[in-house]
């Protein structure tokens, strides 16, 4: 059977599975819709959290990114996993004990302030939309290459499926589909990596193959080889970075606190039955994520060696374009790889200096990897299914946060407090539907600024939610004015810095102009500090939080008496 047919069969089978799960797990109440009835076992919640968190960007782009960045790629690896430690130790158990549906709920109630709630709602919606737009691009890329349908058809198909199980199943449907998507995704990620690891180093585990000697009998370590290749071809050495230490530090920190502050991840810890389960489920989630995140850098190294050797040939003199392997021509059609025969000799050459004739998009490293390594057709089909699963699971989680923010935080808690459970559920579904249509539009007409605004999403989460929640738990007396002033100044500072360097004056976006040498990607860390400092100063000159709020904070600090998550 050819790759095309196999891809249709495997992707089609996974779609059927997701829909079947959605019908089985459909939501009957707002409680089901928002937090899956609060009854998800921790292991399954861990898988769902992992699927929710690992986006199309993680699945498709991360290994490629690391492959091109070398050591510097560690900011993503450590940043996106280290945030879970903060989440598990400082946020998840307390928020679970607090027992509400959404992050704005916590902020609004803890700081007894509608202003705080509203600021939080808008941040949540903004962060989620930024993210969804990126996911839809991922769906488009996967569909257009693997199913050979045009991007519009691909995105519409993806939208219909997400619509079906988000609107029908809510959090309950999403959670159980995400469990299935997690399995598809991890399998699709690890299988090619294992194959390639065996091929390149003879090790079954990519994580140990990463540090092993090459299987070609030269006795040279993979990373040594990669360092040599990189320097010979005019790239920087693979195992050391090009970014300044301070910038790496700040970016990693911003990604960590940003991760811990992302509403669609936090909300997952409202779905487990107990505080103990919230702690446990964060551990499982990170363990599952670690499977992919420790495989990714290994895959990145294998793929880089493979790609360089395929294009430049074993003698590193280049290979003839006429005899180029089929994957190069396949991927040329998507525009993700380009050959520009500068010296007109018909020979391809890839390097980091003026000899270079290739333009290689980083997304190709995971998607084309099985083809580059000549793996069987079913592995290629599996990667397609995995990419789609990653994009769908994250979009669904994000869309749910958008819909809850609208129906619960805006309608129920602001404009229409007397709304019935049934009507609220209807509005939640309506909001999910509208959000899907908007996200689909961005998928078909991707705005050019998607990559730029991702820094924004993390920066905002880091400079707004994270400090507000931390202070809400660890300081009993922190008051509404301090929290609101902190959030607003944190956001204002971060947003101004990012907007200036990314949109107003992109030419000035060079290390010399940066504040303390911190790039816009890392500025969220400073925004977080601004938030903490301003909140503390304002708190010092105003009254401390009222007695009943202090008692509320006391009560979320120990597990006993945690009920189901509820609206009131």
């Amino acid at each position: 059977m050819d790759v095309q047919t196999l891809t249709f069969i495997i992707v089609g089978a996974t779609f059927a599975l997701y829909i079947a799960i959605a019908i089985w797990a459909r939501a009957g109440s707002t409680n089901d819709f928002y937090v899956a009835g609060g009854g998800v076992p921790p292991v399954l919640n861990g898988m769902a959290t992992a699927a929710d968190w690992m986006s199309a960007a993680s699945f498709i782009s991360m290994a490629g990114l690391i492959s091109f960045m070398g050591y510097d790629g560690a900011v993503y690896l450590m940043g996106w996993t280290g945030g879970y430690v903060l989440l598990a130790l400082c946020l998840a158990p307390y928020l679970r004990k607090f027992g509400k549906f959404t992050v704005p709920d916590f902020i609004g109630d803890r700081y007894y302030s509608q202003t705080a709630r509203t600021v939080a709602v808008f941040c949540a919606i903004f962060v989620c939309f930024t993210y969804v737009a990126g996911q839809m691009r991922g769906v488009g890329v996967v569909f257009s290459r693997f199913l050979e349908v045009d991007i519009v058809t691909g995105v519409v198909l993806g939208m219909v499926i997400v619509f079906f199980y988000t609107v029908l199943g809510g959090m309950k449907g999403i959670t159980y589909t995400q469990v299935a998507q997690f399995c598809v995704m991890v399998f699709a990620y690890v299988v090619p990596a294992v194959f390639i690891s065996i091929m390149v180093t003879g090790h079954i585990l990519p994580q140990t193959g990463f540090g092993a000697t090459l299987a070609d009998g030269s006795g040279m370590h993979l990373l040594q080889k990669l360092d040599n290749l990189s320097t010979d071809l005019g790239f920087h050495e693979y195992t050391t970075g090009t970014k300044s230490t301070i910038d790496v530090f700040f970016i990693t920190f911003a990604l960590m606190v940003g991760t811990a502050g992302l509403p669609h991840v936090i909300v997952r810890f409202f779905t487990v039955p107990k505080v103990h389960d919230a702690r446990k489920s964060a551990g499982y989630a990170l363990a599952f994520i670690a499977i992919v995140y420790t495989t990714a850098p290994s895959l990145a190294a294998f793929a880089r060696v493979n790609m360089i050797e395929t294009i430049n040939g074993p003698e590193l003199t280049g290979t003839s374009y006429e005899e180029a392997p089929s994957w190069i021509k396949n991927w040329e059609q998507t525009g993700l790889i380009e050959f520009n025969d500068k010296n007109g000799d018909g020979v391809m050459f890839y390097s980091g200096d003026e000899r270079n004739e290739m333009t290689v998009d980083r997304d190709i490293m995971v998607l084309a990897n099985p083809e580059i390594a000549n793996l069987p057709a079913w592995v290629i089909a599996l990667v397609a299914a995995g990419g789609v699963a990653a994009a769908l699971s994250t979009s669904a989680g994000l869309l749910l946060v958008i819909s809850t923010s609208v129906s619960h935080d805006l309608l129920k808690r602001n404009f229409a407090p007397n709304i019935t459970d049934k009507a609220e559920l209807f509005y939640a579904r309506l909001a999910a539907g509208v959000a899907i249509v908007i996200a689909g539009y961005f998928g078909i007409n991707p705005p050019g600024f998607v990559a730029q605004v991702v820094a924004f999403a993390f920066g905002l989460a880091a400079s707004s939610f994270f400090p507000a929640i931390i202070m809400g738990i660890f300081s009993k007396r922190m008051n509404d004015k301090g929290a609101v002033a902190g959030m607003l100044s944190g956001i204002a500072f971060t947003a101004t810095y990012i907007i200036y360097f990314k949109f107003v004056n992109p030419e000035a976006n060079i290390p010399d102009n940066w504040l303390f040498g911190i790039s816009p990607e890392g500025i969220g860390t400073l925004g977080m500090i601004v938030n903490f400092v301003v909140a503390f100063l304002v708190f010092k000159v105003t009254d401390e939080a009222p007695e009943e709020i202090q008692e509320l904070v006391e009560s979320i600090r120990y597990p006993k008496g945690a009920g189901e998550a509820s609206a009131h």
């Binding site: 690896l77 990373l223 446990k280």
Partner: protein, 88 residues
């Protein structure tokens, strides 16, 4: 009041913060310490074919993170039982 007395509640929170602090020190040491600030120095040490700083940045820190969460979970559960504030 779920605690036996006020002192217990204070002691429980203090113990929780102390545990948190210890774990976060490790969290910081493996990632920001070994993976970033001291990565260059550690790169002079070979560790199974990896430069040690590079290994911490791309593999080691993640493995330690997972362990930290499970240690926290186990210690907190024991503590909850000791103070009688575990869930029914």
């Amino acid at each position: 009041m779920s605690f036996r007395n006020n002192d217990d509640q204070k002691a429980y929170w203090k113990e929780n913060l102390a545990l948190l602090f210890k774990l976060l020190v490790v969290w910081f040491a493996v990632s920001f310490g070994a993976g970033i600030l001291f990565a260059d120095a550690l790169n002079n040490i070979q560790f199974f074919g990896f430069k040690l700083g590079f290994w911490f940045a791309q593999q080691g820190s993640i493995l330690v993170f997972v362990a930290l969460i499970f240690v926290y979970m186990a210690k907190m559960s024991a503590m909850d039982k000791r103070y009688g504030v575990e869930e029914e």
